[in-house]
């Protein structure tokens, strides 16, 4: 067998291996109910519930933000993000979260805000990170 064929086979084998191992890095979009069902990390899109309290008390803990989010199925759940509250959080039109359900609370690992602005649709990305 020619060496170039061996290389081609090796490349294909590695590619398949990566595809299989990377499939666990991928998640799907879900709403709260589906996230509960899956128990796994998902992407979730929703809006801030304006008439429920946004809990951010930096004097107590500047890394704890809790709020209520309405998902696209209309469900409202409490969301906790372990990061500072971004400027203009209350003005966001849409919030995209990555995270998983823990009981009745959604624990977010990161958050992307879409804010209306006179300049353009601004986006703010917040990430809670371990270590």
């Amino acid at each position: 067998m020619k060496r170039s064929h061996l290389i081609a086979i090796a490349v294909v084998a590695v590619a398949i291996g990566i595809l299989i191992s990377a499939s666990s890095d991928v998640t799907t979009y879900a709403n709260f109910a589906q996230a509960s069902e899956k128990g796994d990390r998902v992407k979730l899109v929703g809006q801030l519930v304006q008439d429920k309290p946004v809990e951010y008390n930096p004097e107590k803990d500047p890394n704890y933000l809790a709020f209520y989010l309405r998902d696209d199925a209309g469900d409202v759940r409490r969301v906790v993000l372990r990061a500072g509250k971004p400027q203009d959080f209350e003005r966001s039109e849409q919030i995209v979260l990555t995270g998983q359900m823990n009981g009745e609370t959604f624990e977010a690992a990161d958050m992307l805000l879409k804010c209306p602005s006179k300049y353009k649709d601004e986006e703010v990305y917040v990430r809670s990170e371990k270590g």
Binding site: I18, V45, D61, V80, K120, K130
Partner: protein
């Protein structure tokens, strides 16, 4: 309707030139196409000359479009939507460039500009390659100039217009007025983009984007004319140029993100970053196979493929960032402008053209039947190019999930879509192995020879140098492991591979080319890669949040108690806060234009409760919008060291500082309790006590700027906790400004969460005190004294040097002060110096008082004959009067910032390594041009 003061000419000219530029590009494409078809006939020259003429016409027209748009922006012609949306009267001139290429139209024009510049260089230098390469460039220009055409075909608009009038794009009642222009103001440039990075990053990046079309054009030209070997030589320096500039543009983006944005890093695997990196990776792979092809004749087909792919990926990147498809996966993308279809067509045409040409001609491309020797340089370089391709495929695949979702949803509308859980972790995990292979290959291949047929002869030398590199790499790995927090064997592998590449290439420069730097381009680039990999490991593994204080936060954390999650720290004004390795103090803040800058002092701690003596002050800032109602950008501030950086930014502010409406509501909802006290008294509130120390007519308050004619009054208090002896000053004040009215300014005692104010209704009482005084005239000579209500008043001296708070000297003034010394019946003493002033032949008297004694004095007149002064004295009963004070407790604190501080070790290795890599590319290009 005819509107007043509209400047329609630049727009009409500009629009005409847009159309002209499009038509000329089309003509240039056709002419150069036919010139290439007839390259061996007599018709060639005619077609080529027509191609040159129309390409230059296209260039002239495009430059005119740029000029017209720039003219509109500089002159702030707000009748144009582009000017209205992107500039304002107060925008400094240097940001006009940023405003110009901030929008899609401007950035397409920038791209076009570079294509024209490169096209003109090709016209001068490309010789027989001019016609086919410029046919490709001109074709790309047809698409790019169509993006700003703004022509309607029925309801479909071809391209976004650049010269649209505001009144055409917006339907508002204001446009029914003839003089609407007097009433509109520009929106201004997003403060986030008002920095020099936005001025230098886009032109560099777009030159990088634009230059990838040249290797693409040469590849098409080679396939087209079947001169599969000839094109390899002229294409190489262009590819090297493109690699250096595109790399520099990407690097600048990273530096911008790191220096001026609050991302807290230089690379985030954001789709926008990824899709500009991928064409660069493919281009670098192409450079390597191009070298192989030039030297051995192998890999011509792959060189074609890589150069074709690189430009197609640039187009794909353009599509992803400009079509709006990235949606919620990217933190920075252009807004959608309805150009999606045109962009798809642009990629489609060039992809089909490239792929079709490659497949049609692939059998025609000369290839060598024999296999490369596995001890030859070309074999390992080809493997390296495959590794780069692999890297590009992995990054593109993961970044393209939104495109994939959209395609599936077109067939299956209920498909929910997939996304990466954690893009950074995902990419890092796989690209780490790419770096391992690259590191090893750059070390191995550098020492091999092209077309090696006698590996045995060379073997000894190879083994010796590989051994040197491996030993040096092991030593460097061990050395670096001392400062890197390496937690997994994979990182050791990457570190070793990077050090191996670095050591082998240093050895190569020293022992093989004997320090001849002209030939060291590739080795320098490879060393750069090794340094960059080390820097990435340093910033990635050793990046540390120092803005934590696990002790101060203890017991306060709700839910999960993992303190390593905490990245932010609360800094109260003037209160030193210990955090990891430092003591941080938020000293003060100041506002200039729309920027509020905070000063935060860092003192390094020695770990034993003391300081090392090292300290520095950082100035992170936030930018407000023009109404001061919201923060639009938080700009970091970084302390640079050779070995590491300390990066800080304000991640949060009290809500009252962001939202004036909220601040008002908060103020209104405070519960103020009334108290009364005389000077010297103590007021006891629920949790605190306050001592009334005195009052002043020249009060100081952070929000008070004295003006002439003000009547002001401030009360001096000192507030204490009931169980503490530390006193905090509080000086609430009132002032009355002519024609403006009366104002009360409360004093905040942040530490006690206390707010103290003087009621506005007592204004008259304070400021009207003067009228209730009954003055008695006293006759005094210098050094005499006289008795007044039991007080002993002595005139010490008539002072010609006048120092009185309300006296501002003017030429021609005659002013004298009477220095008075007062002794009270109980032995207390005081002083006062009323002033007698003659200005413009009119006498004035400036009063003074001895506040502690409650005595007021006026200097009424001087009798020059007898040298007797008339001093009017009065005793106020004010001191004994109850002063109404209002005090609120539990006021929310608003004198703090929430700060994020990160240490980046080895960040300078990242910059050094990247620059060295690009310098190597540039050096190689320069050598090949000579």
């Amino acid at each position: 309707m005819i509107y007043d003061n509209e400047h329609l000419l630049p727009g009409q000219l500009g629009h005409f030139c847009v159309v002209l530029s499009f038509v000329a590009a089309l003509l240039a494409t056709v002419a150069y196409f036919l010139a290439t078809r007839h390259r061996d006939t007599a018709a060639f020259e005619g077609w080529r000359n027509l191609g040159r003429f129309s390409f230059l016409l296209h260039g002239f027209a495009t430059l005119s479009v740029i000029g017209a748009l720039f003219f509109i922006l500089v002159n702030k012609y707000y009748e144009y939507q582009y000017a209205w949306a992107n500039v304002s009267d107060d925008l400094p001139f240097e940001y006009t460039f940023s405003a110009f290429w901030k929008e899609q139209q401007g950035s397409f024009l920038l791209w076009s500009f570079w294509h024209i510049v490169l096209g003109m260089v090709l016209m001068l230098r490309a010789g027989k390659w001019e016609a086919p390469v410029l046919a490709v460039v001109a074709l790309a220009e047809v698409f790019i100039s169509s993006m700003i055409l703004g022509l309607y075909f029925g309801d479909f608009r071809l391209g976004a217009g650049a010269f649209d009038l505001l009144r055409q794009t917006m339907d508002a009642p204001i446009f029914s007025q003839q003089d609407y222009l007097t009433q509109i103001k520009g929106n201004g440039l997003n403060p986030l983009l008002q920095n020099y990075w936005m001025t230098i990053h886009p032109p560099t990046l777009f030159l990088g984007f634009a230059s990838t079309i040249v290797p693409f054009g040469y590849a098409i030209a080679g396939l087209w004319t079947r001169e599969h070997k000839d094109w390899l030589k002229p294409a190489l320096p262009w590819a090297l140029f493109s690699g250096a500039i595109l790399g520099l543009g990407i690097l600048m983006g990273g530096a911008w993100a790191y220096e001026a944005l609050s991302f807290g890093g230089y690379w985030a695997w954001d789709p926008v970053e990824n899709t500009s990196l991928v064409p660069w990776i493919i281009l670098v792979a192409g450079i390597h196979t191009n070298l192989v092809a030039r030297n051995t004749g192998y890999s011509i087909r792959s060189t074609y493929a890589f150069y074709l792919l690189s430009f197609i990926l640039i187009l794909y990147s353009t599509y992803l960032t400009r079509s709006g498809i990235l949606g919620d996966t990217s933190a920075h993308a252009f807004t959608e402008m309805g150009l999606g279809i045109q962009l798809v067509l642009f990629i489609g045409v060039f992809s089909v053209l490239g792929a079709w040409m490659w497949f049609v001609r692939r059998k025609d491309v000369p290839d060598i039947n024999a296999e490369e020797s596995s001890a030859s340089r070309e074999f390992w370089m080809f493997i390296g190019a495959l590794v780069l391709l692999f890297s590009a495929v992995l990054i593109t695949g993961a970044t393209s999930l939104p495109v994939w979702n959209k395609i599936v949803q077109a067939f299956q509308p209920d498909y929910v879509g997939a996304a990466l859980k954690d893009p950074m972790a995902h990419h890092n995990r796989y690209q780490l192995w790419i770096a391992v292979f690259i590191g090893l290959l750059t070390g191995v291949a550098q020492w091999m020879r092209y077309g090696e047929r006698n590996p045995e002869v060379w073997k000894k030398k190879l083994v010796r140098h590989f051994a040197i590199a491996a030993i040096a790499a092991a030593a460097l790995t061990a050395l670096n492991a001392l400062w890197l927090n390496i937690s997994a064997w994979q990182y050791y592998t990457m570190l070793f591979a990077a050090m191996f590449g670095l050591a082998a290439n240093v050895d190569y420069i020293v022992s093989f080319i004997k320090g001849n730097l002209k030939q060291a381009g590739s080795a320098l680039s490879h060393i750069g890669f090794g340094i960059l990999a080390l820097g990435i490991l340093g910033t990635g593994l050793n990046k540390e949040w120092i803005s934590t204080n696990s002790f101060a936060m203890e017991g306060l954390i709700e839910g999960m108690g993992d303190e390593s999650l905490n990245k932010n720290i609360l800094l109260l004004k003037q209160a030193p806060m210990p955090m990891k390795g430092f003591e941080a103090t938020y000293l003060q803040d100041s506002i200039e234009r729309q920027t509020r800058t905070f000063s935060v002092r860092f003192k390094k701690q020695d770990g034993k409760g003391g300081y090392t003596g090292e300290e520095f002050v950082l100035h992170p800032n936030v930018m407000y919008d023009r109404q001061f109602s919201k923060v639009v950008a938080a700009n970091p501030s970084t302390q640079h060291y050779l070995t590491h950086d300390i990066f800080t930014h304000v991640s949060s502010l009290p809500k009252a500082e962001l939202d004036p409406e909220f601040a008002r509501q908060q103020e209104d909802s405070l519960q103020f309790d009334p108290y009364e006290a005389v000077v010297g008294d103590t007021i006891f509130t629920k949790k605190h006590y306050l001592v009334v120390e005195g009052y002043t007519k020249q009060p100081k308050h952070p929000e008070y700027k004295p003006e002439k004619g003000d009547l002001a009054f401030g009360l001096k208090l000192r507030a204490y906790n009931l169980d503490d002896t530390t006193g905090y000053p509080a000086e609430p004040m009132l002032y009355l400004r002519p024609r403006k009215g009366g104002f009360t300014l409360p004093a905040n005692v942040g530490q006690l969460q206390m707010r103290v104010r003087l009621n506005e209704s007592s204004m008259g009482q304070w400021l009207g005190m003067e009228e209730e005084l009954k003055y008695t005239d006293l006759q005094l000579k210098e050094s005499q004294s006289v008795d007044f209500n039991g007080y002993r008043i002595s005139l010490e001296k008539i002072n010609r040097t006048v120092d009185h708070p309300s006296y501002a000297p003017e030429p021609g003034d005659i002013a004298v002060a009477a220095d008075l010394k007062i002794t009270a019946p109980d032995g207390r003493t005081g002083a006062a110096a009323p002033v007698y002033l003659i200005r413009d032949s009119r006498p004035f008297s400036l009063k003074d008082e001895a506040p502690a004694l409650g005595l007021h004095f006026r200097f009424e007149s001087i009798d020059p004959q007898t040298a007797t002064m008339t001093i009017a004295a009065a005793q106020a009963s004010g001191e004994q009067r109850e002063i109404p004070v209002e005090i609120a407790e539990n006021a929310p604190r608003s004198d703090y910032i929430v700060l994020e501080a990160i240490v980046f070790p080895g960040i300078n290795l990242v910059w050094l390594g990247s620059l060295l890599m690009l310098f190597g590319l540039g050096l190689s290009m320069w050598r090949r041009l000579r």
